[in-house]
Symmetry: C2
Subunit: 344 residues, 2 copies
């Protein structure tokens, strides 16, 4: 690795998660207590873009599995373009925005509309002075320090931690909240292991296409690893759930394409491995990211399934960094990208 901001920020992630839980944890607890007073939460609408959209996907599965609450990912253009913001009806809803910069006008517009309608709003952001923070009722400040690399890493895992804290508090899941405190140590282990193991995959650094498969909680992991690889390397990285992949997109996987299988222990592992077998049948070069001895990119054993995404994304980040370096790409400032993308 090099002395890039990206490398440093990848390594900072265990501390970033601790900082976010310290900063936003009590706020999340108070928000959850207020929401619980209103009765069972009926729906959550999340507005996010880019990497934060992958944090939203994690929230969708976690809130679904733990709270049984439908989570709709907002279509921000309804507010910003069609003048028809989608606002959940009733006070037993939450509109949650996730944006490290807090500066996407279309995300802010979703929160503005909800707040005007009296729906509780909260923002997960790394900038408590941002327009998004000003718009929301409650600010869940990540407080992880400025992220200088254009590709988001520590703000992503810190956002996942705050989502897990909020869902845990809403569900009064004390055991889960206790497990969350152990996650930074698993993350540190994952960073070291990935740094040691990623060079064995150097032969794939000049790929043109990468498929990443994950399901359930790790649908977010697959999507985020794919995004990180494409941002940093220019490889066309795509994330899929096994059913989505098998319903058509697998037709465009050529022989030799690397296919990363995010398949730690849990309810969906067999499904991901089945998709991996179908990919191997097409001649794809499968790479296993899991917690078994067969893994190419091993994960620490013992990470609770629902918190796995905070850890499993790390080997993907390290892989993306490594391949970018081997390709001679500028890892802190990929060509054509900006840290703040102000889409309307």
């Amino acid at each position: 690795m090099t002395g890039s901001h990206l490398e440093r920020e990848i390594r900072e992630q265990p501390d970033a998660v601790r900082a976010a839980l310290r900063s936003a944890g009590p706020v999340a607890d108070a928000l959850a207590a207020r929401l619980r007073e209103r009765g069972p939460l009926e729906q959550v609408v999340i507005a996010a873009r880019g990497t934060s959209d992958n944090a939203a996907r994690y929230a969708q599965y976690l809130a679904g599995a733990r709270l049984g609450v439908p989570v709709a990912l907002a279509a921000p253009s309804l507010a910003s373009r069609y003048g028809a913001p989608v606002v959940p009806r009733g006070a037993r809803a939450l509109v949650l925005a996730i944006s490290q910069s807090g500066r996407s006008p279309d995300v802010v517009s979703v929160v503005d509309a909800a707040r005007a309608a009296g729906v509780p709003t909260a923002a997960i952001t790394n900038d408590p002075a941002s327009p998004l923070a000003a718009a929301a009722d409650v600010v869940l400040d990540l407080d992880v320090g400025m992220e200088r690399s254009v590709a988001a890493t520590k703000t992503y895992t810190a956002s996942l931690a705050v989502v897990a804290r909020l869902v845990g508090a809403l569900g009064r899941d004390d055991a889960g909240l206790a497990q969350l405190a152990d996650v930074p140590a698993f993350m540190a282990e994952a960073i070291d292991t990935a740094t040691a193991r990623v060079p064995a995959l150097d032969a794939h650094h000049d790929a043109t296409h990468l498929v990443v498969v994950g399901r359930g909680y790790h649908y977010a992991t697959a999507m985020e690893i794919a995004l990180k690889v494409r941002e940093l390397t220019g490889i066309v990285g795509e994330g899929f759930s096994p059913p989505d992949l098998l319903h058509g997109p697998i037709a465009a996987v050529a022989p030799g394409t690397p296919a990363l299988l995010v398949a730690p222990s849990g309810a969906v592992r067999d499904s991901v491995l089945e998709a991996g077998a179908a990919l191997a049948d097409r001649g794809a070069a499968t790479i296993r990211l899991d917690d078994t001895s067969a893994a190419d990119l091993p994960l620490p054993a013992g990470v609770p399934e629902a918190l796995g995404p905070l850890v499993a994304v790390i080997p993907g980040q390290v892989l993306a960094l490594r391949w970018a370096q081997l390709r001679g790409a500028p890892v802190d400032a990929p060509p054509g990208l900006t840290k703040v993308t102000e889409t309307r």
Copy 2:
């Protein structure tokens, strides 16, 4: 073109939409009337896979813009894998499944869970004898005849028509419903125009990567054209909204990559064209699909914006068919795909 099932089914689409409106229209009207009696609809959860997921995306924007209702796309694995189906709370919700075959067990499981909880359920399907039809309270039978090509075309546009009919009936939008009846004629015009104009794009048939950009109602169009191209040709076709593209994925667009811009008149056209300019700056070869004289793939003038996706997908279908033929691919049965994908 050839005598393939696919070509025939593309050409059948105007009649298929008429058939679906005849078959499912009155059922949709009755369902809407029953739902309206319960008061304003509070949320919709849609379960779908593959092409039907793109019909769900259209429903998300249409129901959002016309009814102000949040639409959550179900995460079927929560039901099928985690034993934690997400069921909307309260009777003012609708769970809608979309599946031409009606045979995806994970989609059926979402409907089963909702029905058991007393939430109204409906299924848009082309097989009224399917397990999905048996599971749902209300069956919106497309009745478009068997679709023999593995790549879905007529069941997609027919599903969009039924979605538009249902949303129109829920919103008592008589003007919109009247416009829907005119759409098949626009579709027929689009088929003829696309057939004439697509050969001018033959130079791109050996591309390895295709980016399709659309927003709002046409986010579904972009995603569906990308899926059709990848299913039929093996080209890595990807659909993006402009904000999603600009938030990172554009980094993996290499010079010479064809980029199809779905930009008919409407609230989001400028946004798509701005993304097109950013793609052109990276050296992408932009292709315009719109209703102006500058279009490479012209659309008929006068199609109402909200119904545009029934028409705008057609040039993409014709393009995918043409490129598949030029590549020597078997258009009715792409290697490795099956008509019914029974994912759990």
